[in-house]
């Protein structure tokens, strides 16, 4: 991760000199911190809201029901996690549910909650566990039933049927989730060898 960021910064400086865009890059460097904090400020509202709502779902036992419904999927992707950390599994179940419902704002806090719990059972190791990789892969390619923003933009641009892309979106996003999670699980299996935080 640090390498990717480092490379991006070096490349930006090189490109900005080549293309004569140093003032723009300098401006961007100065405002990016403010932008990031603004974004986190907005994130605070949604994350706090959904974290609160989800805490109610947890306390009321609603999560247990959802978890049972999703157990065929989670059992496959996060093998053995039900024994190692029920808390992580329940956060993951909510994360998947929120993603399926298209509630990205609710998926993020649940995903972060799950990551914290997975980090705890990873024993403070600096290497990502197979569970973490699977969860991040799942969320970098999340399945969307109703891409509302895209539909709204299409409608505004005068599309005759803004939602006619749905079947194609479903096919494409299920394939991309499968590819991401499949790669994660496959490479976890290949790179086994007594690593921490892994199942079995």
């Amino acid at each position: 991760m640090s390498y990717v960021i480092g490379i991006m910064i070096v490349l930006s400086v090189v490109f900005s000199l080549l293309l004569g865009r140093a003032p723009e890059v300098s401006g961007a460097a100065l405002t990016s911190g403010v932008e990031a904090v603004k974004m986190c400020f907005e994130l605070m509202g949604t994350v706090a809201l959904w974290n609160g709502i989800m805490r109610v779902a947890e306390k009321s036992g609603l999560v247990v029901i959802i978890q049972k419904l999703l157990s065929p999927v989670t059992g496959l992707l996060f093998r053995g996690l039900d024994r190692r950390s029920p808390a992580a599994l329940s956060a993951i179940s909510l994360n998947i549910t929120a993603n399926l419902l298209g509630l990205g704002a609710a998926a993020t806090p649940m995903g972060l909650e799950a990551m914290k719990e997975l980090d705890r059972i990873n024993g403070g190791s600096d290497r990502a566990s197979g569970y973490m990789i699977a969860l991040v892969a799942l969320n970098t390619a999340s399945f969307q039933i109703l891409p509302t923003t895209v539909a709204a933009i299409r409608k505004l641009a005068g599309s005759e049927s803004p939602l006619d892309i749905l079947p194609a979106v479903w096919v494409t996003s299920s394939l991309s989730v499968t590819a991401a999670v499949g790669t994660a699980l496959l490479l976890s299996r290949v790179s086994k060898g007594g690593e921490s935080g892994e199942s079995e």
Binding site: S32, A36, C40, I53, L62, R154
Partner: protein
């Protein structure tokens, strides 16, 4: 009123009513969860500042334009309209950036053209990969993310290639 407008209020009231029936102290439980949520965001803010520094500088440097020229031939080979290269480059690193590029493509080519449709499917079926990855790991002590990037990239590539294929096959 469209059904999607009712959806979020229904989810929220549904969860709260279920809690009420089960005798949960709503205010106390909600604020407890919300407080944890606030702490989480504070914890990820420093990482986000660093990430946005890199992304902001890169976007401003015009590097994307150079990469676009580089990638166009490869992308055409995969059957993807080459006008979509800027979207494919922006999509993994910046949600707002990708949205701007997407709007621009729709305005230029129209929503119901082949290019417009593939762009819509692409935008609708992929995520801001890099940013998501950074945010998720920022609440952990992990420094070596191992094959996370490979898995995420596999997902993105599949999404890009199949958005073009799916539009060709499923939409006449």
């Amino acid at each position: 009123v469209s059904p999607s407008d009712l959806f979020i209020p229904l989810v929220i009231t549904g969860i709260l009513c279920f809690g009420l029936i089960k005798g949960v102290n709503l205010l106390e439980t909600f604020t407890e969860g919300a407080m944890d949520g606030l702490k989480t965001v504070v914890r990820i803010t420093p990482t986000m500042i660093f990430i946005m520094l890199a992304i902001g500088m890169f976007k401003a440097s015009g590097g994307l334009d150079l990469l676009t020229v580089l990638f166009e031939p490869v992308v055409s080979l995969a059957g993807i309209p080459s006008q979509l290269v800027p979207l494919m480059l922006m999509r993994p690193i910046s949600g707002s950036g990708a949205l701007a590029v997407f709007k621009d493509i729709i305005a230029t080519y129209g929503p119901d053209t082949h290019v417009g449709r593939v762009a819509s499917v692409m935008q609708g079926s992929t995520e801001t990969t890099f940013y998501t990855m950074a945010m998720y790991y920022s609440v952990t002590q992990v420094k070596k993310t191992r094959h996370t990037l490979a898995a995420a990239a596999a997902g993105d590539l599949t999404g890009f290639i199949f958005s073009a294929l799916a539009v060709s096959l499923l939409m006449r």
